[in-house]
Symmetry: C2
């Protein structure tokens, strides 16, 4: 044994791996999952195509890790927002609003992570991603139910439905076009959050109040 990985090398390897993942993420954010092709990603990361395969066994694996990473970041932001809220209903509102803001601030990426056609099978990591986020929302709904703020219901199904509503209306093909305008964007977030809260049984008047309170903090948190 005349060669051992020195600390410096280990760091370089890790950096390269991150660079490749970051390149993939950038590509996805710019052109959707379709733009995440091995050769272009390699160029972005300043490595050769073959090198990508030193770090990821396949494109599917690369994309799966990308999905996991983005999902992890998203989940953390949702938790932060919800935990900062004063009560279960506010927490739910905060969580939903955060999802909406997130999705809107990275539309292409979100679409890619969630639903864009990919030539390799990434269904398991997409499933895991959805499960995490949906589980978090379900937990928040559940908390509100337990607090007596909402009627009893199938929280898992409700959470899934809420996410479907958010995604479809904000990044789906029928999503409004001109959401670059910050005012329109805020309106869309508020409208959809309101729908979501009412869907799980929040009274209209109360829901409107929660929505207003939730929007500003969510935007700040996601920006951070």
């Amino acid at each position: 044994m005349v060669y051992r990985r020195t600390h410096q090398v280990v760091k370089r390897l890790a950096a390269r791996r991150s660079a490749i993942l970051a390149a993939a993420r950038d590509a996805a954010a710019e052109g959707g999952m379709a733009a995440v092709q091995i050769a272009p990603v390699a160029v972005r990361a300043n490595v050769a195509a073959g090198t990508v395969y030193r770090y990821f066994p396949s494109k599917a694996e690369l994309i799966s890790e990308l999905i996991a990473e983005v999902s992890r970041d998203g989940l953390a932001a949702i938790r932060r927002a919800a935990d900062a809220a004063p009560g279960p209903s506010s927490a739910l509102a905060a969580a939903v609003t955060t999802v909406a803001v997130q999705v809107l601030s990275q539309r292409k990426l979100a679409w890619g992570i969630l639903a864009e056609p990919v030539d390799v099978d990434v269904s398991v990591s997409r499933l895991a991603s959805r499960r995490e986020i949906s589980g978090e929302i379900a937990a928040r709904i559940d908390a509100a139910v337990r607090a007596g703020h909402l009627p009893a219901q199938d929280t898992a199904l409700a959470a899934t439905a809420l996410l479907g509503a958010l995604h479809e209306s904000l990044v789906g093909p029928l999503a409004p076009e001109n959401l670059d305008d910050p005012a329109k964007l805020r309106d869309a977030v508020q409208t959809v959050t309101l729908l979501a809260l009412r869907a799980v049984g929040v009274m209209d008047a109360r829901a409107r109040g929660l929505v207003v309170q939730a929007v500003l903090p969510a935007k700040a948190l996601v920006g951070a």
Copy 2:
């Protein structure tokens, strides 16, 4: 000119075209869009691969027509259900329930039409399909708003959100597994319809009533 298409030939051509489309539809219903490949579809339709191209200029066109056809059928069923309802709120409930039942009774097909990755670009026909259905739902929401049953709102956005909720919760990757059991299926339809109605502002108690009324007719209509 010593050759003219005789009536018999015209009919045969039309029949073949329908056979190819039907084969594509069957394939999609069985194995999703992934199963809609030219060669297998041709086999199903009892023609050669090349023949498919006598009728459809490309796979994209074939799938686009498939989407349009399924969408057309679906829209008709939704209209029928809604028109048969006694009032605007019932009509909305009927429309939503019908979408749910449709989607559940042909899960693979619905998923294929809506969101499954396809190797060719079918985004425009998918967009059109969504637009039609969403427009119909929006119109029904609008009618209920005008009748004073619902608060004023962005009906287009609401309709899109509702469809997103239905699709994600019923045929998305997190959809409950065992929806083959008719009782579970009915429960799922009811739960989701209830969410949808509350989302647009129907009061909880009233929504529950509407849901119950809407389920049975919808199932019958879709079966027809």
